[in-house]
Amino acid sequence: MVGTKKTALALLTAAVAILILVTPQFTAMHTADTINKGPGVTAVKMLSDYFAGLKNTPGDTAVYVLDSGKPGGTALVVGGTHPNEPSGYIGAILLVEKARPTKGKLIVIPQANASGFTHNDYSEGSPQRFALTTPGGERWFRYGSRATNPVHQWPDPDIYVHAASGQKLSGSETRNLNRAYPGRPDGTLTEQIAYGIVELISREKVNLAIDLHEASPEYPVINALVFHERAMDVAAIAALDLEMEKIKIGLEPSPKTLRGLSHREWGDATGAMAVLMETANPAQGRLRGATNEALVLTGQDRMYERAAKLGRLFIPYDKNGQPLSLRVARHVTATMVLIRDSFEKDPRQAVVVTGVPSYREIVTKGVGAFL
């Protein structure tokens, strides 16, 4: 078929029409999720308060301070390092909206890589958003990308060289916040976000820092807690205490040679006990079927059921899947146990947090009931 001016015009019109149709969806990812200030929130800061270089950049993000006003330690909870790992940031949001410290201070960054929430991984077919039923009605949250938006940080190098160690990784990892620590004030946007978080940990004299993540069910480090050596004791005690609550969590030491990750660099660069926790999100896995909102919320997938029967998974998995509420319940409960156990040895440094629903409550009523 030979093209004419008419066919060119028709194609051009179609392209413009498609552009007009998809633009609102595309730009909707830039609309921030609603995060309500709970009764324990005493201040809302920005990460740029700790590193001014982030001010007015897409990397700046809200920092919620829940200060009891009574002397004690300081605990930090970080969600949304990877915006395609929703149990981490929904768990952090739940803490912002429900937690009430009665001793010490709790600081929460629910969306650590704010830029990563402004796009998603098109090649993964991920949904852009998912909805939770809450007492106030349906509430939407973005399902973002693992990495910083390339619109904000581009181009990727062929090889990403971790600045502090010279470690080499694939180029796309240059936009992975959890390969960028301890960050650099004059580095890429991702390195600047990392630098801001490390500055916050140092300036706020954070004793315990927790990074909430998810990974695919076929990944060996799953339903697990990775700890910096300074957090070794508390990690072991917390794992035993969680087992008493019928929550199994594996322990993994942070490798000294794997650089750029929170559990390694937060611990090395600051005085904090650093831990990272993982739940299992089938929407991230390689074996999954349709990748949609239902998969994000229910974690139910026939292919994962088959994989479990073949012994290919590292977690128990049946037709009930790994629902988001279960994953959030794991993170929130483990966070509370870690906070409690961390300060057992020195009550003067204690952080006491009330108001947070229990594991059973979150699982039975659903996480939306508490948002």
Partner: protein, 189 residues
């Protein structure tokens, strides 16, 4: 009369079967406190499961030293060697050693213990999630030479520990890591 005799015979048989199984159960576990303190606790496979056993020993009030990378020369001075078996590639990486080196260390430790009359307790507390090729290699290296095995039950779904123990090694299967602490405590005089 005939019915009564039959009933008594059946009851007798049931009683005999129950007794036989009770005997097997008692023989399979550790009959009483047999091991002496102090203990040297180490990891085989460099998983953090050793840390959990360290906390269990602490809570049990045992006189112990924990060294995840203890060498054979460290065994002297202790009455019992506790090997916590569980492989972790992250842990091996963190320790800067490979599988072969870790297996050799385990063999050297057990060899030193056997030569010095030191008791060897092998524990596996990581359960199903910790099992896999990596852990199984360390299980096969350490468990057959143990004097006592404590294995969290869901780590033995394929009965690997039962097969290794056979009739010669006492083995207990606690349901949880917390319960494993009870067995550990009970094993020591």
């Amino acid at each position: 009369m005939k019915d009564r005799l039959l009933t008594l015979t059946v009851l007798g048989l049931v009683f005999a079967v129950v007794l036989a199984f009770a005997g097997v159960a008692a023989a399979a576990g550790l009959p009483g406190a047999q091991f002496e303190q102090p203990l040297l606790i180490t990891s085989v496979g460099q998983s953090a499961d050793g840390q959990m056993v360290r906390v269990l020993a602490q809570r049990a009030g045992l006189n112990f030293t924990y060294d995840s990378l203890a060498g054979a020369d460290a065994v002297s001075g202790y009455r019992t060697l506790v090997l916590v078996v569980g492989g972790s590639s992250k842990g091996l990486g963190a320790a800067g050693i490979n599988l072969d080196q870790e297996e050799q260390r385990a063999q050297a430790l057990i060899g030193a213990a056997k030569n010095g009359g030191v008791g060897v307790v092998v524990m596996h507390v990581g359960g199903e999630a910790r099992r896999g090729d990596l852990t199984d290699r360390f299980v096969r290296a350490a468990a057959p030479r143990a004097d006592y095995l404590i294995v969290v039950a869901d780590g033995n779904q394929d009965n690997i520990f039962g097969q290794i123990a056979g009739d010669s090694i006492p083995v207990d299967y606690p349901g949880t890591v917390g319960e494993a602490g009870g067995y550990l405590k009970a094993a020591f005089k």
